[in-house]
């Protein structure tokens, strides 16, 4: 008992000094460091620029700047970023099915996947000494794929994008898009109004004269004979003979519908819209019409004749450029400064990356 008392007293006596020592210690040595809160990145960021888009069933893929590949499995509601073995800008994607796809991009890079993008592998691509930038890729049956790009690069793969070979000697102009007609003929367009055609699956290529000298950015065919090519400053060309002769179309755009339509942003007349650059054009066979996109939120549409074109802005204040179109059942999905869905009845929905 007495022991206890002494202990308590001793405790009481020593406590104040412990407190003083503690205060001194805190006062001299404790310096808290700032701690920030964690931030979770979204799949789609403000800085993103998507150049290529592909869809298969309800899955969507988009590829873009800084080696970014995103995929959505629910028609664009939610997205996830896939890990990629490069940080080069990726320019386009083509798919065979939900598992197999190929991507091309800067520095002559091609990537392929066989597991829906869980893992991406670098393909074996031929390179030249000047500039290697692959811009467009298309996938066809039995693992065949074609890609075009800067310095006249034209390459082909027969193993689902794993290995590639030159299909033509490089030349100093840029090829922007390649397509296959229904009858198997290959047609590519590019800089200075270049048009190349091969009727023997890439063995020989012939140059065709275009009625313009500016760059052609996009091309697509409705069937084996009717096709549209589009390019800078609103150039639209039509062919009815599989790409051998071309004529300018789209003069009918001059009717001033925009001024009476409040949904058309700041385009004060059709003239403005048609002089915008067109970056992509596709034929949508299910919806039986042509779709096109370009700078400053431009959309284009035409009936199967490919002559009566309409144009406008996706949304009054959406001035983002788009460089790629992919067909879905009720419209098209677009990739560019933003990603979104453009429906057949002209509703524009921007995908937010969750």
């Amino acid at each position: 008992m007495r022991e206890m008392n002494r202990l308590v007293r001793w405790g009481i006596g020593v406590t104040p000094w412990l407190v003083i020592a503690g205060l001194l210690y805190v006062g001299l040595f404790v310096k808290p460091k700032p701690i920030g809160s964690t931030v979770i990145p979204t799949a789609i960021e403000a800085r993103d620029r998507f150049y290529g888009m592909a869809s298969v069933n309800s899955a969507l893929w988009a590829v873009g700047a800084d080696g970014k590949i995103v995929r959505s499995n629910d028609e664009g509601v939610s997205w996830s970023v896939q890990s990629v073995p490069t940080s080069s800008h990726l320019q386009d994607i083509a798919v065979w099915d939900e598992k197999r796809a190929v991507v091309v991009g800067n520095d002559g890079i091609a990537l392929f996947t066989q597991d829906g993008g869980q893992s991406w592998h670098q393909s074996d691509t031929p390179v030249n000494d000047v500039v290697n930038k692959l811009i467009d890729v298309k996938a066809f049956e039995q693992g065949e794929a074609w890609a075009v790009g800067a310095f006249g690069t034209l390459i082909v793969s027969h193993d689902y994008g794993e290995s590639w070979v030159y299909a033509r000697e490089p030349e100093d102009f840029i090829l922007n898009e390649i397509v296959k007609r229904a009858d198997g003929g290959l047609v590519a367009v590019g800089e200075f109004g270049s048009i190349l055609i091969s009727e023997n699956n890439g063995a020989d290529w012939q140059s065709v004269a275009a009625p313009v000298e500016s760059s052609l950015m996009a091309i697509d065919f409705q069937n084996e004979s009717v096709g549209i090519a589009a390019g800078l400053e609103g150039v639209l060309l039509k062919t009815v003979d599989g790409g051998f002769t071309w004529a300018r179309v789209g003069n009918a755009l001059a009717f001033p519908k925009a001024e009476t339509n409040p949904g058309i942003g700041f385009a004060s007349s059709w003239k403005d819209v048609t002089t915008e650059h067109i970056f992509s054009i596709v034929w949508h066979s299910e919806l039986n019409r042509w779709f096109g996109v370009g700078t400053k939120g431009l959309w284009l549409e035409a009936d199967p004749t490919g002559v009566a074109w309409q144009a406008g802005r996706l949304a009054p204040k959406d001035l983002a450029w788009h460089s790629s179109i992919s067909k879905v059942k009720d419209g098209v999905v677009l990739a560019g400064k933003n990603l979104g869905h453009w429906s057949e009845d002209h509703q524009w929905l921007v995908f937010q990356g969750q």
Binding site: I12, G36, T42
Partner: protein, 790 residues
Amino acid sequence: MSRNVASWLIRFRVWVVGVIVLITLALSYSAFNIEVKTVFQDLLPSDHEYVKTHNKFKDTFGGSNLVTIMVESETGDIFQPHVLGAVDQITRELQKVSAVNPFQIVSLASKKLKEVKASTSGIETKPLMWPELPETEAELNELREKVLRNSLVYGPYVSGDLSSTLITVDFIDRLLDYETAFTEISSLVSAIDVPGVKVRVVGDPMLYGWVNFYLPETLNLVLMAGLILVLMLFVINRTWRGTILPLISGFVSAIWALGISNLIGIHFDPLVIVIAMLITARAVSHSVQIITRFNEEVEKIESGSESVSFAANATLSELLRPGILGIATDACCVAVVALSPIPLLQKLALLAMVWVSTVAISSIVLTPVLLSWVKHPRGYAHPINVSWLIHRLLDLCHYVSVSKMRYVMAGWTVIVFLVCGYFALGLKVGDANPGSPILWPESKYNQDSAAINSKFQGADRMFIVVGEDTPDLAKTPEVLQSLQQFQRFMEVQPEVGGTLSISDVLPSVNRTLREGNPRYEELGSSQDINGELLYMFEAGAEPGDMDRFVDTDRGNASVTLFFRDRQGETIRTAVARIKEFIDQNPLANGEYQLAGGLIGVIAAVNEVILSGQLQSIALALLILVVLCTVVYRSSMAGMFFMVPVVLSNTVTFSFMSYMGIGMNINTVPVAALGIGLGVDYALYIVDRIKQELQNGLDDRSAIERALHSAGKGVVITAFVLIVSVLLVYQSSLKFQAEMGLLVALWLTVSAFTALFVMPALVYIFKPAFIYGDTNSSVPVSRKTAEVIND
């Protein structure tokens, strides 16, 4: 000793008062000439890494005094002649504003915003809208198209919906005077009287300008508070001496403090007025204690048998110890603030220390000396008597302290301490809400700020410098790539509205060169190509035009981060992320340097405050404990007086946290003064209990006597001060209002603790330093007690 000092002071009272009057007169000239202003340089901890970077690069990459003006079109977009006219007029007029850096005025109407165009003849760079304004529909459309094409303009300088545009202007820091800048810009902006055009202005010069703008109002409020104080003192004390002497005491200490401060070259920051009030409150409260004690001593004197000077002498000698101890703790606690590396806080600590110290003269010495001249010590100036009410309250205090209730009180204290302590941990460093905490959310400035932040990427900027002093490093692909990655990384944080660097410029130049093809919106693959792109952007530019992005020899590049708010949390997160990025992405050549611009500077200040926060609280407590230990020659005394201090501060901090008041450069000094503030009342009461015990009273009576004398002073001052301080809540400056509220809370809690908790604790624990060594002291004190009781 205190007895000797007291009698000496009373004996030479004419000399004492004469000297004090002379010094007051001499200092009043200097006091009335003190400069009232905020000096920008004083706000920065100049040794901090960020501030060094800021000072090194602010002339190139933009200072922290950027003023942002938003011109908003109420109908339609900005591409209308009258809107663009307003932009042009403001841009021109800004050149005439004092201390403006003419090379840092950026708007649609300045030469800085350009468009790069590829044409058949090559690359053309020309200002968007300079020197001539577009007039025709076609010209306006052309300008709109140019803006839409230009990602350096559309977004950063023209809002997404095209309804508003920004003009930003920076100042030459060393020439800048906030008040002048505010007046000149305000008159410039109000001169824009164009229907359909709305102009909003934000930026630190404007913010501090508003503080100055409300200075007269603040002074009026302070005067009103003073008036109410005097009135209430008169009603409650019922004597002229009880009214005028506290006032004289407050006045003299203010004159001395301001006079001395001016002499040693310290100016008066308008936001510091709360601190002035706080210290004046101390002076008044000490003075009231002395007068209350004096009244009591007068009661004891047989009428006519002794002079009032005896009463004055007794008062002085009894109150010297608690009075001086209270002032010493106040002064030392606030001195701890001077350890901060921020010059403003150092100067403030010095000012407060001088001020608090002068209270020793003005209250503890001057008041009793003046009292010794009182002619009719027993008379009252008016018949209204409220003192029964006060004594009823004090009876309650006594009941609580000596009944079983004392355990309840002690228990409650512990609970309150724990609960408030928990909430106090939520106290934030830095601003806790968007908008400036100095002004009310509905003030014009905060409204403007919210409007600008909702339309644009954010009005507050931080810049990070990448590079080193080797020329052309900023053109290397490695640095440019790293910048892009860095920007992408930083933009993930939602409060970072956007980022801008040379790495954004070059890709868009490249795209322009490539027929506007977005697939070529990318950096060059080599230093030479990037150099060429840069050269093309600069072609036709004036020297200094690239300053926003790179320095003259291209050795350093900047990334500007735009922040939507300047909350402490936002800035901490951003800085932590910047450091994370640097750690994970080391550069082979060059390095990242944090951080300039307003947000960079605030980050530095917040870090300094955070790292010093615990330190200053611990050191202030340490000083308190040591002083009490020394004065009462007992280590337990130190522990004992920690109770009111810790309690009042915990409650106040939890209240700050609840109200969303963050610890920033403005609140830190108030908080530091508050630490010392908690103890004064308790000192007077406990010291009195000790005296009465020494005089031989039993502890119940000693506590009763102490509460009804010293406690009465506490009730009076606390009540009077709380009411007058609350008046400041009417201030147009939210900061003043909140600080008024805080001071009131501090006073309430420390008064409550002194009246209810401390006596209860005394009665429960019976600490030896109060009760004394009973065996030896009883005979002596019994005798004294008999003398008094006779």
